[in-house]
Amino acid sequence: MNEWKGKILAEEINSHIPNSVISSDKESVYVETEKIYEVLKFLKETSGFSFDLLSSVTAVDYIDHFEVVYHLKSLITLSKATIKTKLGFGREDQPQIDSVFSLWKGADFQEREIFDLMGIFFNNHPNLKRILLWDGFPGHPLRKDFVTNSQSIMPIEEQN
């Protein structure tokens, strides 16, 4: 299986969708958050890329910003690539990004999981609600500022 080098992929993306790539490193490409849907749509539907399998979507909290990571695989071209995007600088309350649900149905549960545990809001997701935790859970546990000891994990109505 071939792995796309970050630099080559960044050039390819930038030549088709101008001003979409911020930077690239060895394996991954950093993309503008606003253009993530456009870039992923391009990567899915253009031959030569044809990333038809969304392997994994996940998010990381880097304290000053969040990072959403897309691991793409292609069964047609037998290759894989990593696309990243940084968002939520300055810890704004609800970081937002476009959902890729309409491209890959496999993003459904994974985006819900990120919303649940990391608190990143996915626009245009048809059923964006908590998946692993219950409605009304205080905070998003995978954020680094979620303090496990002091924060009660009981539902609010049961606390009193």
């Binding site: 392997s55 994994s56 691991h71 149905k105 935790l133």
Partner: protein, 370 residues
């Protein structure tokens, strides 16, 4: 004449005999026909990903055991591969062979559970399940010889496995290799040509390859739709490029082909185990403590490693900040993602097909909720 009728909504689970754990579905029926399904997760959520952020890289191995508790060895393998890639550790060959033997045996055990419980969900009163469990028991005993535990193995360490296999293990393994094909034949004789199973699973919950790939479905379910996609072949890790095996595929994409595929994969796994036993050579099973210390401090960076688990692509995303514990540990759980199309698969089928389809998908709540 028309009779006034209205749909009935039933809450199945989290306590239900055949939801394979604490899984809940809100199902709406029109008579016996399913018109809507809403899966609800989270009853076994233990926050493994958060827990890992406070544990060292070696301690996280114990958390992986508890994710998908019927295929712990595979979870160990995937996680260890991610750590090795992140911190650039070169594993010892004997350790890798042992890892492959253990994980292929675990795949057999996991598929035995899947087949057994699929037939149990069909209503067979425990007989195929006990026959499957009888064989699984032999594998679990071998695991106990290897690492002292049957389910929560914690067998693998960065750079190989924690200890070499004892002599007793090799003796048991060779007798298992001889006996297991007969046991699978017996199971197949009981089940494969059974007309009741045939009529209940054939053509139920059909998926097309496009649908499955679009929904990120991997593993036996994807292969049952006719796509020979197996990460052991397509993206080889460990020494899977050195062994010779086939990827069984089926074209129907229904529950029956999922059952048949699992049975065939068990045979293929046994083939791999046989070759591993031939290839393995004496030597150390893990690098010396000076090379790979107990406390690993991988360089800053991230990596994503995916292996072919028993239920599909099992991915581990690790982010390191140079300290002794992972900055972020994400598990791409195939059990959760394979449930994406549950609603589409079930709508239009009957109540009896609900749990059969569910058993055909073969999820494990420990991995769904993590």
């Amino acid at each position: 004449m028309s009779i006034k009728s209205e749909p009935i909504t039933i809450n199945l689970g989290p306590q239900h005999p055949s939801t394979h754990g604490v899984f809940r579905m809100r199902v709406t029926f029109d008579g016996e026909t399913i018109i809507d399904v809403e899966p609800i997760f989270g009853y076994l959520h233990r926050g493994s990903e958060k827990l890992a952020e406070e544990r060292t890289y070696t301690q996280v191995v114990t958390l992986t055991d508890r994710m998908d508790y019927v295929s712990s060895m595979l979870n160990n393998q995937g996680y260890i591969l991610a750590v090795e890639k992140l911190s650039d550790i070169k594993p010892e060959p004997r350790g890798v062979w042992l890892r492959m033997i253990a994980s292929e045996l675990q795949r057999i055990a996991s598929h035995l559970v899947a087949v057994g419980f699929l037939i149990q969900d069909l209503g067979a009163w425990g007989t195929p399940l006990t026959y499957a469990m009888r064989e699984r028991e032999k594998i679990l005993q071998m695991f106990e010889m290897l690492c002292g535990a049957r389910i929560t193995n914690s067998y693998m360490r960065p750079g190989g496995v924690f200890m070499d296999a004892p002599q007793q293990f090799w003796e048991n393994l060779s007798s298992f290799i001889d006996e297991f094909p007969g046991a699978v034949d017996e199971l197949e004789k009981l089940l494969t040509s059974n007309e009741i199973i045939f009529s209940r699973t054939k053509g139920v919950a059909v998926l097309t390859p496009e649908q499955a790939i679009n929904a990120s479905i991997t593993g036996p379910i994807l292969r049952s739709t006719g796509v020979p996609w197996d990460l052991r072949k397509n993206d080889p890790y460990d020494y899977y490029d050195k062994v010779d095996f086939d990827i069984p595929i089926h074209n129907a994409g229904d529950n029956y082909s999922r059952y048949l595929l699992r049975v065939q994969e068990m045979r293929e796994s046994l083939k791999i185990v046989k070759q591993c036993v031939d290839f393995i050579e004496p030597g150390p099973v893990r690098p010396h403590h000076d090379e790979v210390p107990f406390l690993i401090r991988p360089p800053k960076g991230d990596c994503y490693v995916a292996i072919e688990g028993s239920k599909g692509e099992l991915g581990f995303y690790l982010v390191s900040d140079g300290s002794i514990s992972p900055y972020r540990w994400h598990v791409r759980s195939s059990s959760l993602i394979n449930l994406t199309l549950l609603r589409e698969m079930l709508i239009g089928t009957l109540f009896g097909d609900l749990f059969v389809t569910f058993g055909g998908i073969d999820i494990n709540m420990g991995e769904v909720d993590r």
